[in-house]
Structure formats: structure tokens, C-alpha cells
Amino acid sequence: MTPIVRTITDLLIGFILLFGFYIVLSGHLSPGGGFAGGVTCAAGLILMTMASGVEALRERLSRNLKLAAAGLVACTLLVFLAMPLIGLPLSDAGSVTFLDVVIGLSVGAGLFGAFLMLAGFPVRRKAEGEKEGQ
């Protein structure tokens, strides 16, 4: 895509993902929840795929993917398991927030995976002199 779209996407992708996480985490207080937040995160990643191409996204994601995934899982487990032990509730609603985060991850990853699958599918292009069917 054009450099304008690519530059703006590179600047905005952090905010889009942050907004998606906000929708997921505040699902028990204001409208939103796991589904809306997960689909928003997936839509942001799709924007980056369409702007920079599938290869660039794969390279950018896989650079730190193992480290990021391990860190994410460790943080989640630490926070959600240690909080009741310390005695502080993570949120007023208890397990609803945890389920929100899990659903956000599941739905977002699934839908983005579906798009990546389709993006790698070859297209039989139109031949040169062929008219479009009516």
C-alpha cells in the first residue's frame, strides 16, 4: 500500500491495540467485554497486515513472539493467582475479568488467524482480454 497508509498504520497500531485491551479489561464496568475487544484487536492487526504485507507482519511478530507469549502467560498467571493470596481483589466482579481476557485472546487470535489463512490463498487473476461476466 501507499507510504502514507503504512506510516499512519505504524503510528496508530499501538493505540488501536491499547484501545482493544481497554475494551476487554473494562468489560465488567462499561459496554464492551471480551468479544468486542477481541475483534477490535484482530481488526487492528488486519490493518497492519493489509498495509505492510503478510511477510512484514510475520517477520515483525515472530521477532519477539516466543518471549512475548511467555511473558504474557507468566504475567497473567502471576496476577490472577497471586491477587487472592495477597488479599486484594483484582476487580469488583471477580472471575468475570479473567474470563473477559481469555475470551478476548481466543476470539482475537482466531479471527486474525482466519484472515491470515485467507491472505495467503492464491488468486486466479483475470486474463488480459477477458471481459467480466454479466
Binding site: 468489560g27 467485554g33 481488526a43 493489509m50 473477559d100 485467507l118 491472505a119 483475470k126 467480466e132 461476466g133
Partner: protein
């Protein structure tokens, strides 16, 4: 008829006209864009009807659907001759649809009037949600009272996506077997 209801009827009329244009347009790209108009009209209708979670989710999902459909349409050869009509078939299907609409109207007369739902479970959920501590009662219902339903829903999404992945993957096997047999 209050102002809110008048706006609701206008939005539903907009959805109806956009749906008809989406179905009858000859160019596939125009029909996909009109489909986007149907989805956005539904999102506005959700806002008018007091369902902000649904408006948010429907908006993002509709964008996803438009992107998906446009990626399948663009640059693919399509030789469908749509204007050759089988008039008998179309008339029959039109008559069946009209019959269904009239039959459903007769059934709808037994429904509760619009704007006054019985809310038997809704009242008890709202009363219990105050003790549960959740602010958003729809989230409390989806993830608290009916969490098993949400588990099944996540399973359905995973099944659909894994199924489509399997469908796209078997192309690899066809390519390696092309040398052996001509009918795959």
C-alpha cells in the same frame, strides 16, 4: 409515536432499502458496500434500543465481514450470467416468501406487545447482579450466570476456523498428487 420510535422506524427502513439494493445490484462490489450499510444501520438500531455492547460488537464485526468479502471478490474472474432469469422459479420463490411473511404475521399476534417484555429471568438477573458486583449486567449474564453458553460459543468459533483452515490446507495434497492421477 415518540421521537425514539420514529428514528427506529427510519433506521429499519434504511436497513430494508439497503438490503434490497445489496441483493439486487449487478456489481458485486456495490452489493458488498450496501451490505455494510445494513450492518451499520443495525449498529445504530442497537444504540437506539439500549444495547451499547451489541452496537460496538456489531460495528467491528461488520467491518471484518466487508474486508473479508472484498478480498474474495477483487481480481477473481466471475462469469455468472445473472440477468438470464428463470421466471417461473423466481415467481415461485417470491410467492413462498410472501406466504411465509403472512403466516409469520398471524403467529406474531400471540407475542407480547412491543416495549413491554415479561422479563421474568431479566428481573432476577438484575437483582442478583447487584450482589455479584458487576457493573455491566450483560457481561455478568454472559460470563457469570450463563458462562457455559459462552464456552460453547467459543468452541463453535474454534470449530469453524479450524474447519476452514483444514479446507484451505488440503490444496497442498492435491498438488503433490497431480502427477499420479488426473481426477482428484
Amino acid at each position: 409515536m415518540s421521537g425514539t420510535l420514529a428514528i427506529l422506524y427510519l433506521v429499519m427502513l434504511f436497513m430494508f432499502i439497503a438490503a434490497i439494493i445489496a441483493v439486487e445490484a449487478r456489481d458485486l462490489l456495490s452489493s458488498v458496500l450496501c451490505l455494510g450499510a445494513v450492518g451499520f444501520g443495525l449498529s445504530v438500531a442497537d444504540l437506539i434500543l439500549g444495547a451499547p455492547d451489541l452496537a460496538l460488537t456489531q460495528l467491528v464485526v461488520e467491518i471484518f465481514v466487508i474486508v473479508l468479502l472484498i478480498r474474495t471478490i477483487v481480481a477473481r474472474v466471475d462469469t455468472t450470467k445473472e440477468f438470464v432469469r428463470d421466471t417461473a422459479h423466481v415467481a415461485f420463490m417470491g410467492a413462498v416468501t410472501m406466504a411465509i411473511v403472512i403466516g409469520v404475521y398471524v403467529c406474531f399476534r400471540a407475542m407480547t406487545p412491543f416495549g413491554d417484555p415479561p422479563m421474568i429471568m431479566g428481573q432476577s438477573y438484575m437483582r442478583a447482579a447487584q450482589e455479584a458486583g458487576a457493573g455491566n449486567i450483560v457481561s455478568a449474564v454472559v460470563l457469570g450466570f450463563r458462562a457455559y453458553g459462552t464456552l460453547g460459543e467459543a468452541a463453535v468459533i474454534m470449530a469453524a476456523i479450524l474447519g476452514s483452515y483444514a479446507l484451505l490446507r488440503s490444496r497442498g495434497r492435491e498438488e503433490t498428487h497431480e502427477g499420479h492421477d488426473s481426477h482428484s
